[in-house]
């Protein structure tokens, strides 16, 4: 049990910190700017290239592909140190975290040569085209059709919840090539050019007012058979490679809502019996949230320890989002109750702490859903971590077109 770096870790951390101090564009843009901020795109690309050239982008990937040729623990340390600097928004996370690794694992040699290095350098951005309106939690229910036409495939259909589709160059698309076989067997994966005609991107207006996601429509989109990633009918297996990477990359993050801010708020507000910060009900909640938030933090340290020891992290990393999303919603609601009538004001100029808790309240529902709902994540913990049996499945041994959809 030691929080201190090993000498090897300490040396790497020192090197990274020196490099960041010399190179990080610390005065530019806020890290919280979000993917959709077009102003920062050039900055983002420049920062990514700088990291790639120094071996700090894709630290664990082979140098031959533009990576750093390093270890997982180095990647974690770089992330910790980078977080201390103001760096531009990162529109590359989905491509480098999920899509390109899939191409590297499953794709053909030509695709690897073509795509990996430009992605590492930040020259090309990728998005992931799996979710569909009728699918929801069930990515394997994709209905977007790809029909063979000579040497090409013709694609029609719709994807949804696509982060970054509007600024992406390429997309990894899961399509149904055979509706007459069971659900998981009739899918095929393709890469597509997001700028091609036949691709239309429409932003989704969220309840918070932001548009972090898109709908993407395909109308007679024509792709070459060489754009196939993996064999025909093997799409689900390819998707599992991508999703496995997603689960490792989806983090927690409480946004503007954490116990320090709540303590600060409570130090300024009166309850019926005195100052908020002296209120036992609030104090007990803060204690409960503190042990959850710290528990998650220490759990990532356990994961990092496993990486440092060259082991595979245990299943404990799966609990992050399910804890942090509800924590964020409960804490925001409690903060507003403390503000009492005033809590309804969301204008940053008038609301306490610039309306951070009001923003958190409006963002929390999305966090409880995006990247796997609370319910799906508990299923995953129960089945994959604890080994409990699957629920009864009515969609396994029938042709996809015969699965009940209620329509």
């Amino acid at each position: 049990m030691d929080f201190n770096d090993t000498s090897e870790e300490a040396a790497y951390r020192k090197e990274v910190r020196a490099w960041l101090k010399a190179n990080a564009p610390r005065t530019k843009g806020a890290r919280d700017g979000g993917l959709e901020d077009p102003v920062s795109m050039d900055d983002s690309r420049a920062w990514q290239r700088k990291k790639a050239e120094a071996g700090y982008a894709c630290i664990t990937w082979p140098k031959a592909w533009g990576g750093g040729g390093g270890a997982a623990w180095q990647s974690v340390i770089f992330g910790q140190e980078e977080a201390a600097f103001q760096t531009p928004a990162n529109p590359f996370a989905i491509g480098l975290g999920m899509c390109v690794p899939t191409v590297m694992t499953v794709g053909n040699e030509a695709d690897k040569q073509r795509f990996v290095r430009p992605a590492v350098l930040g020259e090309e951005i990728w998005c992931q085209l799996f979710s569909e309106p009728s699918g929801g939690s069930d990515a394997a229910a994709a209905r977007t059709r790809a029909v063979k036409d000579g040497d090409d495939w013709v694609i029609n259909g719709q994807k949804v919840w696509t982060s970054g589709a509007h600024f992406s160059d390429f997309g990894l698309l899961l399509a149904r090539t055979d509706p007459d076989v069971p659900k998981h067997k009739g899918l095929t994966m393709f890469w597509i050019d997001m700028k091609a005609s036949g691709v239309e991107v429409r932003p989704i207006h969220q309840m918070s007012g932001a548009s972090n996601f898109n709908e993407v429509y395909f109308t007679d989109l024509r792709v070459k058979d060489s754009q196939r990633v993996g064999a025909v009918g093997e799409g689900w297996r390819v998707a599992l490679v991508t999703l496995m990477n997603e689960r490792l990359s989806v983090g927690g993050g409480g946004g503007g809502s954490n116990y320090r801010r709540l303590l600060a708020l409570a130090g300024d507000i009166q309850t019926l019996t005195g100052l908020g910060v002296k209120d036992a009900a609030l104090r007990e909640k803060i204690a409960e949230w503190y042990v959850q938030a710290e528990g998650l933090k220490y759990t990532t340290f356990r994961t990092m320890t496993a990486l440092s020891r060259g082991q595979t992290p245990g299943p404990e990393s799966s609990i992050g989002k399910v804890v942090s999303a509800t924590l964020m919603q409960d804490m925001a609601n409690t903060a507003l109750e403390l503000e009492d009538q005033f809590g309804i004001i969301s204008d940053p100029a008038n609301a306490p702490l610039a309306g951070g808790f009001q923003t958190a309240l409006m963002n929390a529902p999305g966090l409880r859903i995006a990247g796997g709902t609370d319910e799906i994540l508990r299923n995953i913990i129960a089945e994959r971590v604890l080994g409990l049996p699957q629920d009864v499945r009515l969609d396994k041994d029938v042709a996809f077109k015969d699965i009940p959809t209620g329509r």
């Binding site: 309850t271 969301s346 529902p365």
Partner: protein, 371 residues
């Protein structure tokens, strides 16, 4: 024992639902949500006045229907269900009730008929800063009949004609009537979590203020008004929570995942059962509050607190878990879940948050046990 709406009250309620289904569809609510310049739906407001609802609990002598508080609760439940974007609560639960509780004959005669006719919009201006309403918080003051100070947030303060204001005279909290069209009043619209209900900052610089009730009694009058409003708001919350449960149920029946309706999975079933349980507990507590409203006895403060605590919990839970049941669609702008999520916060905060009402509840409980 007759612990339910009477047949007449049920008829009134059914008619109210029909009326609001026709006149206050979600398009009307979204009309206010999407138009930043629109503080409320003026057409619906007129129509509601035409139904006589504004005067349901106002005596016939003052132009109302003189029916009673329980009838007002029946209508409140339907308004809450429909998310009616009108200044009903401010005008009726707060200002009309304040006038009936503390107004002089002249004040009642002057204002109640106008309220009943829909000619006057009211607002209740008490708080000035984050935290619960306490006498110590009040900085606004009246000297020589002139009011100076700042109030925010004031629900419907941007559109109201008449404000009931809590201010200090000679250091003691008192209530005042202030006509907002007069000099010495500035208003600024506030951005809030629920744009379907407006709110403002009111700045008074020597506005004419007329005492409402005895000077120095402002705080206890405000609490008595809040008790009454809490019961009526509880019915709005129960109405909203019921509709949120219906939405969740409808979606869970028609949305399929893995080859069957999501409503056949226990995670969704038990979530909806929990919403149902909270809604029924809230309804029962609200009924008791409605009875206490009419009985007019010493039970009201405890009954009102219980009604409010149960209703805040039920609507918030129903609103957030209805949204969760809708999955990705739930947090889009175009699906209506967030309208209920927003209104749950608005209703949960407008008469003070549940936290403060829990403290009021237990204080009342101790008082009752000591008696």
């Amino acid at each position: 024992m007759d612990f339910d709406f009477s047949d007449d009250q049920k008829f009134l309620k059914t008619e109210a639902r029909k009326f609001l289904d026709a006149r206050c569809g979600v398009a009307v609510v979204r009309g206010v949500l999407d138009d930043g310049a629109k503080a409320y739906d003026a057409e619906l407001w007129k129509a509601v006045a035409g139904q006589g609802w504004l005067g349901v609990n106002i005596p016939e002598a003052h132009g109302g229907l003189g029916l009673g508080g329980v009838e007002l609760c029946a209508i409140a439940e339907e308004l809450g269900r429909a998310l009616a974007p009108i200044p009903f609560a401010s005008t009726v639960y707060f200002v009309a009730e304040a006038l009936m509780l503390a107004g002089s004959q002249a004040q009642k005669a002057k204002w109640l008929p106008k309220i009943a006719a829909g000619e006057v919009i009211g607002c209740f201006a008490t708080v000035e800063r984050p935290g619960v309403l306490t006498e110590a918080q009040v900085q606004a003051k009246v000297e020589g009949g002139k009011l100076t100070g700042v109030k925010l947030p004031v629900t419907d303060g941007d559109i109201a004609d008449l404000a009931v204001v809590l201010a200090k005279q000679a250091g003691r909290g008192s209530l005042y009537l202030v006509e907002l069209a007069g000099p010495g009043v500035a208003r600024e619209v506030l951005t809030t979590l629920d744009p379907t209900r407006s709110a403002a900052r009111l700045v008074f610089t020597g506005a004419t203020a007329e005492p409402l009730g005895d000077p120095g009694e402002g705080m206890s009058l405000a609490e008595a008004i809040l008790d009454r409003a809490a019961v009526m708001l509880a019915f709005e919350q129960v109405g909203g929570a019921d509709r949120a449960l219906e939405m969740a149920k409808e979606y869970a029946m028609q949305r399929y995942a893995f080859g069957r309706p999501i409503g056949s999975y226990q995670a969704i079933k038990h979530k909806l059962a929990d919403i149902y349980i909270k809604n029924e507990l809230a309804r029962s507590n609200a009924y008791y509050g409605a009875w206490a409203l009419g009985a007019g006895g010493s039970q009201l403060p405890l009954a009102a607190a219980a009604a409010r605590v149960a209703a805040c919990e039920a609507f918030w839970f129903a609103a957030k878990e209805n949204l969760q049941t809708h999955g990705g669609m739930g947090f889009t702008w175009d699906v209506d879940c967030h309208l209920y999520y927003r209104r749950a916060q608005q209703l949960g905060l407008v008469a003070g948050g549940a936290k403060a009402w829990k403290e009021r509840l237990v204080s009342q409980l101790e008082r009752r046990n000591a008696a």
